[in-house]
């Protein structure tokens, strides 16, 4: 019994097991990190969250659609105020159309309708369209920041950042 040579003593066995577990855990963590990274797109086609919208004088009264396709924003000038209105329906996130003849935004998915001001009046939508933060830069250009939204039902349209006096 005593001359039996052990290939591995107890201490060595545990050090091998430790190394093995560390490597296994590292491999799992690496795989998990790669899987997590994989769930994010390589190329992002989402519109930019901030943009410059030119000078306040560029906008005639009414709805301006020139930033809709690129940034998803309607610039609406009404009663001396210029606002940046989100083009995402507050019902289920479709993209409404501006109907100039009817003077309303109308959603093609479930028929929600909004006035030019963004206030909802028809269809299932529970609340008005959201406003984005709008302000003037020192050089006089308009800057729209889509990371900050102002919701009417929370009384946030009173906020001076949610409109521009023109």
């Amino acid at each position: 019994m005593s001359d039996t040579k052990l290939a591995l003593n107890r201490r060595e066995f545990f050090s091998y097991v430790t190394v093995g577990w560390v490597m296994f855990s590292a491999a799992c963590a690496g795989l998990g990190a790669m899987a997590f990274r994989f769930s994010y797109p390589n190329v992002n086609f989402d519109p930019e969250m901030e943009f410059l919208a030119g000078l306040p004088g560029d906008f005639p009264s009414g709805v301006d659609e020139r930033f809709k396709a690129t940034f998803g924003v309607w610039m609406v000038k009404q009663e001396g105020k210029l606002i940046a209105l989100s083009n995402i329906c507050t019902h289920l996130g479709c993209i409404p159309n501006w109907l100039p003849a009817e003077l309303k935004f109308k959603c093609p998915c479930h028929g929600s309708g909004y006035y030019m001001s963004g206030i909802n009046f028809e269809g299932p939508t529970p609340r008005p369209l959201e406003r984005f933060k709008i302000g003037l830069q020192p050089d006089g250009k308009i800057k729209v920041d889509k990371t900050k939204v102002y919701r009417w039902e929370k009384g946030e349209w009173e906020n001076p950042d949610s409109f521009l006096n023109v």
Binding site: A69, G113, G123, P126
Partner: protein, 360 residues
């Protein structure tokens, strides 16, 4: 003239009561509906009607869209299988009224056969036939692929796949949380719960109507009227801007529909009492909250206490099954109630709390 009349009849406010009434007639006279004579005459009469419909260019344009062809097939199949089950049920019910056993229990139908080869061969043939059919279909009707997705633009009308159009129609009347999450979950959970709620042993292995009257009526109403009917409306009768268009109506982008939806709270505080909306959210929506609690909490209890069929249900099912069943029925019936309120009173939400993302 006739086409204009049909356009008007197809409007949801007219066609929904008509569909419900036809459903009532079908259930009431299910033996007539399930007779071969009825099926023959229905088919014969529907041929000139279909020719009349197909001859219209606006109707033909919609029905021939590749997306919409399967719905045409679906409707024919739904009609056939509804008739087929009622036909079998009518025969068995007549036999059982005479004291005979159902057709399926007759000695010559009780003979047992091996699943191999009898069943497996049938299944193999069905697989081959389905595959051949799908291959031919894929060649004949091109897949309606569109341009790549654009987050700042949506097609008009933007339609879900046809099997989801019932849900999309529901969304017209409900908040996305209700029609998009709560109701679909309850539909699926309710369908799963059917065998646990319905412990009626009758009807196992044979077609019948009388033995399972309430189970069949409540399921078929949800299926035919609240699902298939809504799919028909969503597929054929909803055009640009999700506006309603009759079957013979040109899909005019600029069709103007006077619509102005208001919430129950606005009805009561502004129109009824004339004192404006209270500041406090809960006080503002208190009537809707009371109504909703009364609807969900009071009606099942009242039905169990005050009506004879409700009392019978309560005794047959036991309290837990009864209240589960009635909750599902009450939630299911909230859809037609909400639709009728919208059509008649332009009612938007019973409870409108957009501040809390809660609207019923």
């Amino acid at each position: 003239m006739l086409k204009e009349l049909i356009n008007h009849l197809a409007e949801p406010i007219v066609s929904f009561p008509i569909a419900t009434f036809l459903f009532y007639l079908m259930i009431k006279h299910y033996k007539t509906f399930g007779s071969k004579k009825f099926a023959t005459w229905f088919t014969i009469l529907s041929i000139p009607v279909l020719i009349f419909f197909f001859a219209d260019p606006n109707f033909y344009l919609i029905i021939k869209t590749p997306d919409n062809v399967p719905i045409g097939i679906l409707l024919v199949l739904v009609a056939f299988f509804t008739w087929f089950t009622m036909h079998k049920a009518a025969i068995n019910d007549t036999r059982m009224e005479q004291g005979l056993e159902p057709v399926e229990a007759m000695p010559e139908n009780r003979e047992k056969v091996w699943s191999w080869p009898n069943l497996v061969y049938t299944e193999l043939f069905a697989i081959i036939a389905c595959t051949a059919f799908l291959v031919v279909w894929a060649i004949v009707f091109k897949a309606p692929l569109e341009e790549s997705a654009n987050p700042t633009w949506a097609p008009n009308p933007a339609k879900a796949p046809w099997y989801f159009l019932g849900l999309q129609e529901m969304l017209v009347y409900f908040d996305p949380w209700m029609a998009g999450v709560v109701l679909p979950v309850l539909i699926v959970a309710g369908l799963i719960a059917i065998p646990y709620i319905d412990t009626n042993p009758k009807g196992n292995g044979y077609y019948c109507f009388k033995d399972r009257k309430w189970a069949i009526i409540s399921f078929m109403y949800g299926w035919l009227i609240l699902w298939v009917y809504l799919i028909i409306v969503g597929v054929f009768l909803r055009g640009p801007n999700w506006t309603f268009y009759g079957p013979f109506e040109y899909w005019d982008f600029h069709k103007i529909v006077a619509e102005f939806n208001i919430n129950l709270s606005e009805f009561i505080w502004i129109k009824g009492l004339g004192i404006g909306m209270p500041k406090n959210l809960v006080v503002r929506e208190i009537f809707g909250i009371i109504l909703t609690i009364a609807y969900v909490g009071f009606i099942p209890v009242w039905v169990a206490r005050a009506t004879s069929f409700g009392r019978k249900f309560y005794i047959d099912l036991g309290p837990i099954r009864y209240y589960l069943f009635m909750t599902l029925v009450v939630v299911m019936m909230s859809l037609p109630i909400k639709m009728v309120l919208r059509w008649l009173f332009s009612m938007k939400y019973i409870i409108a709390l957009p501040e809390w993302e809660l609207n019923l």
